[in-house]
Amino acid sequence: MNQMTLIPLLPLLGFLINGLLGSRLPRRLVALVACGLPAVSFGLTLGLFLRLAEGGAPFTETLFTWAALPGFRLDAAFYFDQVTAVMCLVVTGVGTLIHVYSTAYMAHDRGFSRYFAYLNLFLFFMLLLVMGKNLLLLFAGWEGVGLASYLLIGFWYEDPEKTTAGMKAFVVNRVGDTGFVLAAFLIWFFAGTLDFLEINAFFNANQPTPAVMNTIALLILIGACGKSAQIPLHVWLPDAMAGPTPVSALIHAATMVTAGVYLLARLNGVFLHAPEAMTIVAWGGALTAFAGATMGLTQFNIKKVLAYSTMSQIGYMFMACGLGAYPAAVFHLYTHAFFKACLFLGAGAVIHALHGEEDMRRMGALAGRIPFTFSTFLLASLALCGVPPLSGFFSKDEILWSAWSAPNGSPALWLVGSVTAGMTAFYMFRAIFLAFFGPSNVPLLKQQGIHEPPASMSVVLVVLAIFSAGAGLLGMPGVLREQFGLSAPFFSFLSPVFAPGATGEAGHGTELVLMLISVVVTGAGILLAWVFYGRGRSLADRVRRGAGPVHELVSRGYYFDRLYEGVLVRGVDRLSEEVLAKRVESALHEGTLVKPSEGVRATTRLFARLQTGNVQAYLLYALMGLALILWWGVAHA
């Protein structure tokens, strides 16, 4: 058992302790176990990361042979390379912070130990997902995080609406998982292996046919879409906000939903040889980024705004993956984890201060009341909007630059990305103006209770805000690197994993211009938000009335839910009720059960006559049997 195996096992240990004994332990001890073990995991990860950063080779650890067939061998093995290192650091680091935050947030909840048990279980599965050396182990983690997500969304199980949301997440993810499993089958069929390194090496050396490659890539994409809430499988994410807010921060913003991006990056060997599928990934990502941002424009629930924003940002990451700019995707994943976690936790602090109020129409003027929460929230928002020199600016800009310059990128793709960036700025500052400025709409009853979060929550907010601000400096864009002679440690760290993407001809001059444009767009978005919501809200109301059906369409999430409800759910209902239940089943029942059973009953009635209860009759039957056997012997002698 070495250092690497301990990383995922420690949270599992925490799950076992808190899950089995938690209800009998004092809360302090539960919290200590729940936060301490992931913290140790984080320390171990950090140690491995430093050894990698010094130029060490990726670590591999085989635990045991899971399955051994002739010509095929499957190990339960962990693999720790640069991408895994980034993912692990995010998962354990942000995860530990959110555990600490939760000790205060959930302090008065009856399911305190259950909550931490689930959260540790999630960490275990997430680490299994990112550290698994082969597709099957990844899939085990993949399903496990789905389970943990389901459990945590429906954490307050007394509320049927919340359990329904949990089930929805689970069911929608099943659709994606089907794609994942089919892709794994195809990969095994063609490559004969499930190990990531071997898969990538195999497909780099020989490709079956373009059609096969595209099919595999698209099936993987379906799986990734399910987990990462991309169109058309995004419908579960807004509902998933039913869970406790720290859960939304950890699972539905920072870690689990980015598993799809991790999967695409891991299997880059497949995608690089499926250019058509790559284009679909890029445009699908762009579409999700755009649609998510538009849906975010109209929400009033503060968590739903952030949920749609998450969806939109992951769309960016998918776009980068589709363009072959995997380092940019992983970079955005990494910065996004900080500022989105900070935003969610800030929103959690607001909700906490208002005793569970999530609707921004019943907030307002909070900036003066809780200035500390407001300042971290503002900082993280600026990072998300991409205001230089905060982290979001660098990572988003890297993706936009790829959209322009990558071989299968185009100005159209860049345009979609930039417009989305503008909308991002708009909806974030709309939220800020609604929640923190303007007249106070908080009911009088709750006015008294507004308070700054306790220390354990504040510390976490500060740490995350610092990282939101500074994390981007690790990955300066190319033009600035050349200008100031800086290095980009993030990209050079990742360079052994990903083959260097081809850069376009567009020079650094263009890059600088595009950068300026995006800053201007962001500024415009913020300004527009001020015009609509900062000055007074009459204009916003007028525009909303003017837009009418369009506003309705967007605020209802483009009717995806209603479409699925009407077509799929209703369709299956009708099929099973009208056709299968009424026609097929009754006929089948009559033919295969009722009629034969009548026949059997008639026959038994006949034979039951033989059973007289007289011992001698039974002996006579035995005698007859003896006679038959003997005469059979005579006949065959």
């Binding site: 059973q611 209860g613 007289n614 011992v615 001698q616 002996l619 006579l620 005698l623």
Partner: protein, 100 residues
């Protein structure tokens, strides 16, 4: 036909008659006697084969058959007494309860 074949046939004949007796008689005691006839037929075949093969295994087996027969008679007599007390009849036609 040598004497061993003859005795084997005799044993089969006695066995069949015993079985027929079990089926045809009404009196429970006589039925028990017919069961004894069947057992004796089996013993006869064992002895016949033992003598023919000049081994002691068959003879040892008869000893165990006697033990089993003694046990069986002890139990059967107990049951006969009970049935008699219950129905006041030894007629098997009066005891037709052996059905589900």
């Amino acid at each position: 036909m040598d004497k061993y074949q003859f005795l084997t046939v005799l044993s089969a004949l006695l066995f069949t008659m015993g079985l027929a007796g079990v089926v045809v008689r009404r009196n429970l005691l006589v039925v028990m006697m017919c069961l004894e006839i069947m057992l004796n037929a089996v013993v006869l075949s064992f002895v016949t084969f033992a003598v023919r093969s000049q081994t002691l295994a068959g003879v040892a087996m008869t000893f165990f058959i006697y033990v089993a027969a003694s046990c069986e008679i002890a139990l059967a007599m107990a049951i006969v007494v009970l049935l008699l007390r219950h129905r006041c009849s030894l007629d098997l036609a009066a005891h037709q309860d052996l059905k589900g």
